[in-house]
Symmetry: C3
Amino acid sequence: MPAYATNMRMKFPIVALVLEIITIILFAVFVVYDDGKSDDHHDKASNKSDHKEPMPMDLYPMFQDVHVMIFIGFGFLMTFLKRYGFSSVGINLLLAAFGLQWGLLMQGFWHMTDGKIKISIFKLINADFSTATVLISFGAVLGKTSPVQLLIMTILEITIFSINEHLVAEVFKANDVGASMIIHAYGAYFGLAVARVLYRPSLKNGHDNEGSVYHSDMFAMIGTVFLWMFWPSFNSAIAEPGYAQLTAVINTYLSLAACVLSAYAVSSLVEHKGKLDMVHIQNATLAGGVAVGTCADMNIGPFGAMLIGFVAGIVSTLGFKYLTPILSSHLRIQDTCGVHNLHGMPGILGGLAGIVAVALGKKEGGSVAMQAAALASSLGFALFGGAITGLIMKLPFWGQPPDQNCYDDSLYWEVPAEEEENEESLAHADHSKNKAEV
Amino acid sequence: MPAYATNMRMKFPIVALVLEIITIILFAVFVVYDDGKSDDHHDKASNKSDHKEPMPMDLYPMFQDVHVMIFIGFGFLMTFLKRYGFSSVGINLLLAAFGLQWGLLMQGFWHMTDGKIKISIFKLINADFSTATVLISFGAVLGKTSPVQLLIMTILEITIFSINEHLVAEVFKANDVGASMIIHAYGAYFGLAVARVLYRPSLKNGHDNEGSVYHSDMFAMIGTVFLWMFWPSFNSAIAEPGYAQLTAVINTYLSLAACVLSAYAVSSLVEHKGKLDMVHIQNATLAGGVAVGTCADMNIGPFGAMLIGFVAGIVSTLGFKYLTPILSSHLRIQDTCGVHNLHGMPGILGGLAGIVAVALGKKEGGSVAMQAAALASSLGFALFGGAITGLIMKLPFWGQPPDQNCYDDSLYWEVPAEEEENEESLAHADHSKNKAEV
Amino acid sequence: MPAYATNMRMKFPIVALVLEIITIILFAVFVVYDDGKSDDHHDKASNKSDHKEPMPMDLYPMFQDVHVMIFIGFGFLMTFLKRYGFSSVGINLLLAAFGLQWGLLMQGFWHMTDGKIKISIFKLINADFSTATVLISFGAVLGKTSPVQLLIMTILEITIFSINEHLVAEVFKANDVGASMIIHAYGAYFGLAVARVLYRPSLKNGHDNEGSVYHSDMFAMIGTVFLWMFWPSFNSAIAEPGYAQLTAVINTYLSLAACVLSAYAVSSLVEHKGKLDMVHIQNATLAGGVAVGTCADMNIGPFGAMLIGFVAGIVSTLGFKYLTPILSSHLRIQDTCGVHNLHGMPGILGGLAGIVAVALGKKEGGSVAMQAAALASSLGFALFGGAITGLIMKLPFWGQPPDQNCYDDSLYWEVPAEEEENEESLAHADHSKNKAEV
């Protein structure tokens, strides 16, 4: 074990510093501030029907909501593990901070103006989005990967994401305003493919550290609730300003509300003595936000959004209860946070709902074939990209934690001494102290 | 005890699923997106003096602030109990998610356009408001009620709220922009009436679980601080856009600031050795937001707002210290969170301040009689509605927790095993300590 | 010890109530709502190039972001100490609530209209800013001062701040949009001067309470992440609306992102076995926001902002590792939170970056001499003002905690009894359990 931990001392700082320096150089060459003369049609959508000139800061409050989801939402959602809170929120910050820079570059290369990437609030939102894919995949491999491995995953996943995103948005011209397909399904199956490659046989019967304590579950609820509240911003941030954006907000708000009821009901139904399970509540209550993403800005009706959320809550909770164990035992996919249940299946559900909605004419100019192509493309890039990325991450010199140190902050973090004593041997500690005092 | 817990397995899922399905059907029949052609005068208030066309998303940042208050604010404020954090934040999410749907319907029925309820951001804010009443009442009965009982309370309380709200706003045309009367006083006295009906004699000397631990008090402060920060949004969200809204923000900001000083001062004054009490700090610092609600958008002057907050902080802190024990012992009202001190008395204070402000001509077109009628109506509906609701909740088949399991998550939640060990063996610890002391 | 604690019973309530009453009287005499006829040029900047009339609530979402930084950000950042969480978040609320009122007065006196201070959202933001200086200084003396001492510091520090702020903005007409100099450097060196005067020799080898536990570090990360996310709002809130504001957002966002990578890298590089240190992660990741403050709205280019952040992350982390111990041992400055590393050095770095940027012509109308004067003035007022304030705080009747009770909530707060038992007698518990098992 020390060998692994010690390795970090050079590897991690060098990788982090080199990546950042390269990134700064690329920014120096390619990136400028938006000056309002960009021709990015999304960005400067003049919404004539609403008689309002777009302003550079119009999207800023929405951006900040998304920002909170990325850094507080994802970060704290993963703090449920009893000994892995520093890594969950801390590595989340690291990956997102690097990912948003990389995302600005990768997505920017597809939308250059005069050879330059012009940054606007719209671009910052998309950069945050691109990091969301990584944070979803992070959930699948949480506790079993080193910071260096995860930085490598960040680079590759965002690069591939931006290719798929370009294909879906610009070539297929498919609708995916809330990104059920290109973020949630993509991020989940990418992460699951990585987890499959990094399968650890010795963890198949679980691990002592792989559980929560009372207060770690409380910290995780901070993540859950912030994600839940701001999901309407996530799904509407890049919608057309005006009533389309309002529709995206309302659909997401209602889908999430309906999802809470079905997730709670099914959690109680499937659990011992009808008790609620924190894992379900922390995650499945959010599935409605994922599943309504693709058709959030479509005219599916408030009750349509609620139906989607209602089904998503059921599917997600059942997935945690019955599918996650099967994935682990039969498919050798160890999905720490159950991203398959929160992002994978609800993401596909969202893609399918989008196909149905377009087929029913709920979106002007939508095409069923292109929606299906977008879903297939997202899944294909995810599985293929994730497998390749997993193989690269599996190379033996990235400081991967040994099995016995999985889900344990103390491998990569200085953990307060007192706390370790507390948990491991408070008895012995104080016992010996008492003896000493005697 | 197992009998109670097991009961949840069927009752809770069935109630939750049936309620949600009925709600979705009602939405399918009655609810559509706002298309900007609504004639709701509040909603589309064209504020001519400010020369600005209202846009569908104008209120969205305010809505999100209110949303944070409902889900993080109320949810975490109640996590102060040492063994009831899952329920506090989890059941808060459940009730609010159902309540906002129910609130959209109940309030919407009073404001239909062409037989339809048109949802706008304004309506979402009001739906959040309607759930606030339930969450306040939840505080009064926290730890002593089952999820099924609380869902029933949600339905009834919001239904009655929307009647009173219609009466106050449309019939009396009274001013209550920050809802001191129709939300805070109503929610508090409704909850107290329920608590009175559900009185448990065996808890009159307290309960082992009815206290905080260090970190549960820290979690509660998350709720307190988010409520404190975003209260200006709560009190100004539905004010007339422009300077009236600015006035509501400033009054609330200043009232809360002054309230902090008086709450801290009085807490120190009445406590053992001048120490501050977390219960006071978590709650009484917010009383200024409640008490300035009714006259938040009136021209009471910055110092007027501060005076209201200053008095509210004193009244609320003294209430926690001296009145809550009397309510429990003499009136048989066990008010777990002390909502009488945070919402009840400050809500009445707010209503009275509104009467005085209108009498002093601080609000154009205000009527003292109508303000008084609004306060009386809110209290009357609260006490009567709460008593009826309490009687329905008292029916013996809703899975109410037995006395010895009050304030204990493990009745309705899977609680991490390790934590239980901790807590179970602590008993031994203290036991042995007691022995040692003997 | 009891003598100190008991003293609070009269001193603290009297000081708090008298201060609040005086403040309310001053507000009654001097403060009115803004009515849009203010001639404050900052406030009502008509941004002609963007063709948009400013509205009274335009800055409100930015204000709320800053508000969250002040109350959640600073408050929770300081909760890392294991036994000082109540004070960190609780006294933070007290000082900020009083400070914003005092700041409105002190800053307002320099910007009166017809003998009145007119409050707008812009003024609320500036009031929050003025409290930030106090909260920074609070970090330097955290755990070693009484609430009464800190209220005195609040009054003096804000009063002196508003003099320096006026000098820098109106006389020197220097640029400091994100306040690297007038808030961060000022607040840090003011606090360090106070800490120097209040030096406690007996704490030179540390204190038992001066460390974190696992969950206190998690609470602190709530503060860190909210500060990190909303820092773009802090640095852009009072920038010229439009593209200058966008530039400030982008520069801050990128500086912070680059700073994370360098802070993590250096933390791993300097720590035992390459492990990350929570103190660095909680603090040094924010140094990029401080250091880019002065030139946030200047045309330094996205890569320029990243360079500043990159350097700030390195400097700050190295400061925590190597400089803080030297400050304590050689300069007799005990800096509890390491504000010198987060606000002091990065603040100076920000001032220097501003000088360079102005020299390179990145800001129209900027003057190198005036930038340098602003930095010197901020440092001078801080050191001199802090020293005087420290001397006043050192007077022996403000209830300063004795050395052995430093960093301990239980001196000024009712702390849950059970928790104390927990910590004191867990040993007995497990001991007895072990015996039983034997």
